[in-house]
């Protein structure tokens, strides 16, 4: 047991809000549709509608807004870069500001604001999905969404099971990595000096045992699975049943309304 283990991976915040209780399939599909709509929204009005829906979503999810904002951090630079590009590269509209060769035009400001808002909105929506849906639910949802493709030979069950196994072993492997690293450090290994090649080579004492151990684990895991009667997806039932409920209908209606607004007001 160690620290990495105690810090949950991913962003899921357990809860019991309406959004938490939504079927993962409708959340997956809903989020995708919503993202496409935000892409298509190109008037301020439709953007405001979309933003409103998103913020209401965050509100009823009861997820602390801080968590949502924190999710924006990794992409901050992309937002800034894009905004700057829009700001300085646009030469339409009134000239607002000049300094040396830099010029800011009215349309540039408008575009910068609009595009930044769009990116932020996209990210928040995507965040909201993972904040309110546990990875297991998402895997189940994905399996279910893609299971019609089983008929054409797409291994939806196998992929979902493998994803869930991977997910389950990530903390275990993190813990193991830390253990191996400590053991090698006890033998005088150091991991952070020299050129790129040197640095990668210094990771050998960790990576090789990690792979060796993983092969062992896989071997034992396969035995354990078959000992419990695993024989592929045929004839298998599922413990976690996905069921659409009233909430999902509500979600569908909301998305539909947003779609109508955005498409009608699209220029």
């Amino acid at each position: 047991m160690n620290l990495v283990n105690r810090v949950p991976i991913g962003q899921y915040v357990p809860g019991n809000s309406v959004l938490h209780r939504c079927d993962p399939r409708s959340k997956l599909i809903g989020t995708c549709l919503f993202l496409i709509l935000v892409f298509l929204a190109n008037t301020p009005l439709s953007m405001i509608v979309a933003a409103l829906v998103c913020f209401v979503g965050i509100g009823i999810s009861r997820v602390p807004i801080l968590y949502v904002l924190r999710g924006l951090k990794p992409a901050l630079w992309i937002i800034v870069l894009t905004a700057l590009l829009q700001l300085f590269m646009n030469e339409e509209g009134r000239l607002l500001f000049t300094w040396k060769f830099l010029q800011i035009h009215e349309q540039g400001v408008r575009d910068a604001v609009f595009v930044s808002a769009r990116i932020i909105l996209l990210m928040m929506t995507a965040s909201l999905l993972t904040l309110t849906t546990s990875p297991i639910q998402l895997t189940d949802g994905l399996e279910s969404v893609f299971s019609p493709l089983k008929r054409v030979g797409f291994p939806a069950h196998e992929l979902a099971l493998m994803m869930s196994i991977s997910l389950r072993f990530i903390p275990t492997l993190m813990e193991e990595t830390e253990k191996i690293a400590k053991a090698q450090m006890s033998r005088g290994a150091s991991f952070s000096s020299g050129s790129l090649i040197k640095r990668v080579q210094s990771m050998l004492p960790i990576i090789v045992p990690l792979f060796v151990q993983s092969f062992r684990r896989a071997e034992e895991l396969a035995f354990a699975m078959e000992a419990r009667g695993y024989r592929g997806g045929v004839g298998r039932t599922k413990y976690r049943q996905l069921r659409y409920g009233v909430v999902d209908v509500g979600l569908g209606v909301v998305i539909m309304v947003v779609a109508v607004v955005i498409i009608v007001f699209r220029t």
Binding site: M1, S186, R187, G188, A189, P205, V212
Partner: protein
């Protein structure tokens, strides 16, 4: 290389929501050359404690001294030297083997020390012999081609090769059969005797702790709960049990023996509590019950 802890504490994930205090207010001192055992239930802080011994973890409270090294340190520089002097073998050390040959793996620590190549080979072979392996037979094999018990030995050789002044072992016999178990512990005891180093053994086996160590540290919920010679520690069954531990079989036997003696007196002396070796115990008993010594009513 005396070891001294003064009010040492360790908290994982300090200042995060996942804060976990694993050790608290621990003061102890291990004189050079002693064989000590650290016992305690799961999560009592044993692994945390031994990781501090070679600077893998720095105390978050208090200070500790290992020879001339004072921890926590400002710079990380001296830590490599400390790690050479304090050899640490984790649980299942064979899981860290990675080199192409046994020799190379054993020599890993020496290579990291920057020793000249000529010296390295000789010392690696010596370490292999020390753990009872024949370097000519296994030296050029892949470590992954060995049996579990041999891998364990190779991994231990990889720690011993640095010639540490303090040897720390976290459950070195986990998963071994009775013979392998005994061989490893006898080997450690032999190395302790001949090389005159400090040995720290972490174990869940009360029998091993009592049999091999001069001095015991009992941890409970991150605190130093008891310390003393095996006889001192194990003559207080209540306190030991309160720490979630039990007495060695042999001590339990002696206690029952002496209780029986009280209930159904025979004209013999009670058994002393400082016996942890079955052979010795058998001697004591046969003295009392044998034909010559004989029991008189």
């Amino acid at each position: 290389m005396d070891i001294r802890f003064e009010e040492v504490g360790y908290t994982y994930g300090k200042a995060t929501p996942f804060e976990q205090r694993a050790l608290r207010e621990m003061s102890l001192s291990i004189p050079y050359g002693q064989y000590v055992a650290v016992i305690g239930h799961t999560g009592s802080g044993k692994s945390t404690l031994i990781q501090m011994l070679n600077g893998l973890l720095a105390p978050t409270e208090g200070t500790m001294a290992i020879g001339d090294f004072i921890l926590p340190v400002k710079k990380k520089k001296g830590l490599e030297v400390l790690r050479q002097k304090v050899g640490l073998a984790f649980q299942y050390p064979e899981y860290q083997l990675f080199e192409e040959t046994v020799r190379k793996d054993v020599a890993f620590g020496l290579v990291n020390m920057g020793l000249p190549t000529e010296m390295i080979a000789g010392r690696a072979d010596a370490a292999l012999r020390l753990v009872g392996l024949d370097p000519d037979k296994v030296g050029e094999k892949s470590p992954f081609a060995l049996s579990g018990g041999q891998m364990r030995r190779v991994a231990l050789a990889g720690v011993l090769v640095m010639d540490p002044q303090v040897l720390v072992l976290d459950e070195p016999t986990a998963g071994l059969d009775p013979a392998g178990h005994k061989e490893i512990l006898e080997m450690v005891a032999r190395i302790h005797r001949t090389e005159k180093r400090t040995t720290v053994l972490v174990t869940h086996s009360m029998e091993d702790a009592a049999l091999y160590a001069d001095y015991l540290y009992v941890l409970n919920e991150g605190q130093l709960w008891m310390e003393g010679t095996p006889a001192d520690v194990f003559c207080d069954p209540k306190r030991i049990r309160a720490a979630g531990l039990d007495l060695p079989d042999i001590t339990q036997f002696i206690m029952q023996f002496n209780e029986r003696l009280k209930a159904e007196p025979l004209s013999i002396k009670p058994l002393p509590y400082d016996i942890f070796d079955s052979e010795k115990l058998a001697n004591e008993i046969s003295h009392r019950f044998g034909r010559k010594g004989g029991v008189r009513r």
